[in-house]
């Protein structure tokens, strides 16, 4: 990605404040705080602009349908699990691995 600011700016934008304690997770090793009640896709995209690399060509993906239909939002966790992030509640300690778009590296 050419523009480093755009590369780091998250996609999702919180509009409704939520009570409940923060939920610590890591994304590519960096600690971030999710919120109680977050789905994993929300926890990631409120900190990052995408979820995963596209495995058939260059480029990244950030989910598409949010209703467990398109299967675009599967995410790799460091413990070996692969989860569909739009239907998986965030859990404290989840370690998400996104990696970089090979084109940018």
């Amino acid at each position: 990605m050419k523009n480093p600011v755009a590369a780091a700016t998250p996609l999702f934008h919180r509009l409704v404040p939520r009570a409940g304690p923060p939920v610590p997770i890591t994304i590519d090793g960096e600690p971030v705080e999710a919120q109680t009640g977050d789905l994993l896709i929300t926890a990631i995209l409120t900190h990052r602009p995408h979820l995963r690399r596209f495995e058939f060509a260059a480029g990244m993906r950030a989910g598409f349908c949010l209703m467990a239909g398109c299967q675009d939002c599967w995410v790799q966790l460091a413990d070996g699990r692969r989860v569909r992030s739009c239907s998986t509640p965030v859990e404290a300690g989840m370690a998400v691995i996104i990696g970089e778009d090979p084109q940018d590296a």
Partner: protein
């Protein structure tokens, strides 16, 4: 089969949306104990989807005018208690003969049913356009779910694109929640909406709500632009702008960092397909639908269909159809049913059908988007199969039928099982051959209908 005579029949309902919930309510009232399966953790289905634990909000904020209906449906299972065997977080991933294959919290299970009601609902109808796989482009439904289930907007500055009544509703909801809107674009023309306005008055409350949302977003400075001819997302790694052509061919560009775009709804009919139900082509919505008689029967005597999973009717129809179909099932079992209730439901459903016909006419299928999509654009977002690949294969290899096209290109074989690409691929094939989607056939489904852990399937 086990000694059926000595036990109550095993009745399974798949889908805990408005259709499935009203169905189990009716079955339980007749003294049966239906099994209700849904992959979601909480009942409600699409429109009345409940946020995950910890993200709850007042019903009025989430469902607006529809809050009382949503709350009534959410409480229905509590009220019925153990008269319904509710199995949330459970995916029905296959249906062959009389057996449903289930996956719940990583463990596999099977149910043998005597009769099943499929109330599997719908998802957004997706059509490709230039840049539609860029991170930050979501369906319109996804834009709504982000807000309703999570209290987030899909971006800081969002463009919304649609071809149906969901568009003004989502735009209204985003504005109300304080989101910044870049544009509200309808790819269908305005004229048919005016022409069919009278037909829409068959459901005056629904019509008024639609007009209210439209008025609100117009007053907020975002009038809907109708008749959009083509769409192109700019930005490679993320969305930077949406470029669109208006009805007169003029190009416009709006800066934005997210797009919510889809073009009507599409039934989730995979289980009906695996069950061997007969499908017919619906010329209005241009999709293959499982055949359903007005009483809710499919072509298979022990399989019933209710709600948007067999034909798009919306939430109120789904509630009516769920109850109506359960009454049909009871009558088929030889149980007594209240004939006056049946007559009332049939009258209401008939009224709704007239409304739906006008609504479909007001939002004609936006096939022009497919003529505008470039060859190098993906149609399959699972595996990256391009529009050009389909067009070439149709011409060069004489793939004149969808399953032949699939054999050559793998279209419809990715993780989503053709949910996202299937209808677009059929339209592209038909357009390339100067034919009709009815003539190119339909993709046959295979289990699992959604990905399941691989080792256990062996």
């Amino acid at each position: 089969m086990l000694d059926v005579a000595k036990r109550d029949p095993a009745i399974v309902v798949v889908g805990a949306g408005p259709a499935g919930l009203r169905a189990v309510e009716t079955l339980a009232a007749a003294g049966l104990r239906p099994i209700l399966i849904d992959e979601a953790p909480r009942p409600g289905g699409q429109i009345y989807r409940q946020p995950p634990v910890g993200a709850e909000r007042p019903a009025r904020d989430l469902y607006g005018f529809e809050a009382p209906k949503a709350v009534a449906l959410h409480r229905l299972l509590d009220r019925l208690g153990d008269r319904v065997d509710h199995r949330p977080d459970t995916l029905a991933w296959s249906l062959l003969e009389n057996r449903l294959d289930l996956l719940s919290a990583g463990s596999f299970d099977q149910i043998d049913f005597d009769r099943v009601i499929l109330a599997t609902g719908a998802m957004d109808r997706v059509l490709p356009f230039a840049g539609w796989t860029t991170p930050g482009v979501f369906t319109l439904g996804a834009a709504q779910i982000a807000l309703k289930a999570q209290g987030v907007a899909i971006g800081r500055r969002v463009a919304l694109v649609g071809a149906g009544p969901l568009l003004p509703l989502v735009a209204h909801q985003y504005l109300k929640a304080g989101a910044e809107i870049a544009a509200v674009l309808d790819v269908t023309p305005l004229a048919p909406k005016i022409r069919h306005g009278l037909g829409l008055a068959w459901q005056p409350a629904t019509l008024l709500k639609g007009l209210w949302y439209t008025a609100h977003i117009t007053l907020a400075g975002h009038p809907i632009r109708f008749g959009v001819k083509s769409l192109r997302v700019e930005g490679g790694a993320r969305v930077e702008a949406l470029v669109w052509t208006d009805g007169r061919g003029r190009e416009h560009r709006v800066a934005c960092d997210a797009v919510g775009a889809s073009f009507g709804l599409r039934s989730e009919a995979q289980l009906a397909d695996l069950a061997g139900c007969r499908f017919t082509f619906d010329a209005v919505t241009r999709q293959w639908q499982p055949e359903r008689d007005p009483e809710g029967r499919s072509s298979r005597a022990d399989v019933y269909l209710a709600g948007d999973g067999a034909a798009i009717g919306g939430a109120d129809v789904a509630e009516l159809a769920g109850e109506r179909t359960a009454l049909t099932l009871l009558a088929d079992l030889g149980r007594p049913v209240d004939a006056s209730r049946v007559a009332l439901l049939d009258r209401r459903l008939a009224r709704q059908r007239r409304f739906r016909a006008a609504l479909e006419a007001a939002y004609p299928f936006p096939g022009h988007l497919l003529d505008a999509v470039p060859d190098d654009e993906m149609v399959c977002r699972c595996e990256g199969i391009t529009v050009g690949r389909l067009r070439d294969t149709a011409k060069v290899r004489e793939a004149h039928e969808m399953n032949r096209l699939k054999a050559f290109t793998r279209i419809g074989m990715g993780r989503c099982q053709g949910r996202v690409c299937g209808q677009a691929a059929a339209e592209i094939l038909a357009r390339t051959l100067a034919s009709e989607p009815a003539a190119v056939g339909r993709l046959r489904g295979n289990p699992p209908v959604k990905p399941i852990p691989v080792k256990e399937t062996l």
